[in-house]
């Protein structure tokens, strides 16, 4: 197997090369993680301001004053964009993928360390650019994270549609470039740098999930990048890719002949795979943790791999299910609908296998396991609203109602966040050399799981009753006024759930400095990251190269001296 061209045998000295412009995948992973942590708190604050405004539209807040309808829409746009790109794409893949993947395959670093550093700092620039949109004249754009033209293409279509919208598109374009660099690096590393004996079918399911996610990213982000450049051209160079002849407030705009649906096709060709980019690493983490803490091999390893591959494959053929009401051909809706239902099949296989893994196991309830179980519950709940939305005939009632944010928040939002929490509690000892506090972890878990359901279950009810999305207040439509009490409940639930996240933050930082020291393998797990020291040395294995003799999840092996056989244990151990 090859080794990365720029791996140094000695760790760099000096603060800047060691911690800021580091080439070490472990430092870069932690950088990505803290970027996502910053982003998630900003994103959550925005959602609280939104929930507050929906219930008390004329109330005045200290520091913010009264939130106007256009400010609400700006908060919503930025919440969605920051969460999808800078949290759900950044933490699971850029953060944990970067830190763990090379160690789990027995590599000293990523294949292209310099590219890895570049992709992080490019992501960072993208984040600064999107935050800047808040502070320019007119403020942040109000066109939603999906940015449908002509609204997003016309500076005169609303406040925030001037410089704020340009910064929004620019930030996304920068993010796309960074993700493309990252994707290439992940794919090359997985294919090229595996240790001796680490065959594809011995890779941990986390590695499979990051690998498949990287392939999706490589195919999806390029399309979004091109689409974004075309949108910038429509806005600034007078082209008409997306804008036909339109009249805004009595003024004829200078565009002609463009197609608003073209953007929707390009955007969702990226946007649907993006859902899987957010959730696949969570599936990998859940599989890893459920097996470790059930002390049992994963049920149906191969089926899990094939299910992830087919989710990734079908993920590129279903983008049109976001467009059933768009004016797209109703015949194509038919095809998109059937293909979408097909994705339900591998998703169901995964759920069965997770239950099968725990079945007749020895379940240990450490915090990572609680989050992995929570992940399965949320994945089921969020997944089962999918077959409603996948049917065009039901979309007549449900499209663009609160049913849709209820569905995707459960599955790609909170389930993915549960994956991140599970991964944090699981790998924190390896990353920082100390254990996190279990009591705080459990309290955090119980409030978060109950709170999540209290927020998002009622949104399904509101959506069935016809509550339209992206309404800053419910005062103007009679039937929506009746839904205000339900929404008030959701707002209170959101406040409590967000408050509970401070338990996590306190636990994270307290444990980083004060937690009890972690051993090399505190969870008695089997994969390669647990064979090296805690935290791992600069080249991951201290000059040695691991040799892999076993599959990734050998727990409860009859006849073995311990209840687990590590991947590097001698080949004589009795595994299948």
């Amino acid at each position: 197997m090859a080794t990365p061209a720029t791996v140094h045998s000695h760790a760099p000295q000096g603060f800047i090369r060691k911690y800021i412009f580091s080439l070490d995948h472990k430092v870069i992973g932690i950088q990505y993680y803290f970027l996502a942590l910053t982003a998630v708190f900003i994103g959550m604050l925005l959602s609280l301001l939104m929930r507050f405004h929906m219930i008390w539209p004329t109330a005045s807040l200290p520091l913010f004053g009264e939130i106007k309808p256009e400010t609400y829409l700006a908060l919503m746009t930025m919440h969605g964009t920051i969460m999808v790109f800078f949290v759900l794409t950044t933490a699971p893949q850029g953060g944990f993928g970067n830190y763990i993947l090379p160690i789990q395959i027995g590599a000293p670093d990523m294949a292209f360390p310099v590219l890895n550093m570049l992709s992080f700092w490019t992501t960072f620039v993208g984040f600064i650019v999107i935050i800047a949109a808040f502070f320019v004249s007119g403020g942040a754009p109000l066109h939603g994270w999906t940015g449908y033209p002509p609204l997003s293409a016309l500076p005169s279509a609303g406040p925030g549609q001037q410089l704020g919208a340009d910064l929004w598109i620019t930030s996304i374009a920068i993010f796309c470039i960074a993700s493309l660099m990252g994707a290439l690096n992940f794919i090359t590393t997985t294919l090229d740098l595996r240790a001796k004996g680490m065959t594809l079918m011995r890779m941990p399911l986390t590695v499979w999930s990051w690998f498949i996610t990287a392939i999706l990213g490589l195919l999806a982000f390029g399309v979004l990048l091109s689409a974004g450049i075309l949108l910038l051209m429509d806005r600034n160079l007078g082209t008409s890719f997306y804008v036909p002849l339109v009249v805004v407030n009595g003024t004829v705009m200078g565009h002609k002949g463009g197609s608003p649906l073209l953007w929707q096709h390009l955007f969702w060709f990226f946007g649907h795979p993006e859902v899987y980019i957010a959730i696949l690493p969570g599936m990998g983490v859940a599989s890893q943790i459920l097996s470790t803490f059930s002390r049992k091999p994963i049920f149906g390893y191969r089926a899990m791999v094939y299910a992830m591959l087919s989710i990734g494959f079908f993920g590129f053929m279903v983008w049109g299910h976001h467009m059933f009401m768009s004016g797209m051909s109703p015949y194509s809706a038919f095809a998109f609908s059937i293909l979408t239902m097909c994705i339900g099949v591998p998703s169901a296989i995964k759920t069965f296998n997770w239950l099968g893994t725990m079945w007749k196991g020895h379940i240990r309830f450490h915090t990572p396991m609680l989050y992995a179980i929570g992940f399965v519950s949320l994945f089921v709940s969020g997944g089962l609203s999918g077959p409603f939305l996948a049917q065009p005939v039901l979309d007549i009632q449900l499209h663009d109602t609160a049913f849709v944010p209820a569905h995707f928040h459960l599955i790609m939002g909170v389930a993915a966040i549960f994956g991140i929490f599970a991964a944090t509690y699981y790998w924190f000892p390896k990353m920082f050399g100390r254990m996190m506090n279990e009591t705080m972890g459990r309290i955090h878990f119980f409030i978060t799981l109950a709170g999540t359901y209290a927020i998002f279950m009622p949104m399904h009810y509101a959506g069935m009753a016809g509550q339209t999305r992206r309404y800053s207040q419910f005062t103007e439509v009679a039937y929506l006024q009746k839904l205000i009490p339900l929404n008030t409940f959701i707002t209170y639930a959101a406040f409590i759930t967000v408050a509970a996240q401070f338990i996590f933050v306190i636990n994270l930082f307290w444990s980083m400095f004060k937690g009890p020291k972690a051993s090399d393998n505190p969870w008695e797990a089997t994969t390669l990251e647990w064979t090296t020291t805690t935290p791992p040395p600069h080249d991951n294995f201290g000059g040695k190269t691991p040799v892999v003799n076993h599959g990734p999840y050998e727990y409860g092996v009859p006849g073995a001296p311990k209840d687990y056989v590590m991947q590097t244990d001698p080949a004589t151990a009795p595994t299948h």
Binding site: L154, V252, K296, F299, A348, L355, I396, S472
Partner: protein, 268 residues
Amino acid sequence: MGLALMALIWLITLISTYFFVAKTWWLPAGASAAAAWIDHQFALTYVIMGIVFLAAQLSLGYIVWRYRETPKSPPVQYSHGNTTLEITWTALTAVLFIGLNLMGSSVWASQRFDPAESGAVQVEATGMQFAWYFRYPGPDGKYGATNPKLIDPSSGGEAAVGLNTSDPAAKDDVVTGTMYLPVNREVDLSLRSVDVIHDLFVPSLRFKQDAVPGLNIHMHFKPTQIGEYEIACAELCGLGHYKMHGMVHVVSQEDYDKWLAAREAEKQ
């Protein structure tokens, strides 16, 4: 810990299910010909998904409690899976999901593949930031020409949709802010937008369709109950999205004729 987790998962599952079953919040009563079919497909999906939801969540809760590690736990079952089981549940899910989908497809086809019946009431809906205008072609059955340059939203009515009043076909066109429809007649609706994408959503009529600038989208539906139904815009269209509200008045044929005649008379 296993018991607490099972309790929480079961509690969440049962409370969520209670509100679905009690229909505390539910689809508004349907008032169009398609409503019964759509609601039937909705109910079918809802029952099937509800059963899967209950089965999956309750067994998840049970398993985490039942197989918690105790000093007395028997050795774990060392198993890498079971191919027969994998094939069985793959096949079952595939049949269930795809079958469900096919059952709903005929409703979709009748809604969107076929054109409106002949003799349908002609109405054109035009969306703009942040209002709907409805145009009736008048006795000649032909819509007059419109011109983007003539659009003047501040004047409302005909000027808002840019009606070219010098076109003979435009002479008898009626433009209003409220949609009037006769009951039990098929409606042939053309949807247009002059600026950004809007969406005409009438929950009670089970009607939803984007209005896209540059496209003229033909839809058809048949209101079956007299009443007043709210329109809410269902595609983000700018800062006034939340107040882009309208009304559909479904009236008897007689009242509809009277209403239309009065509007025509106003024009003269």
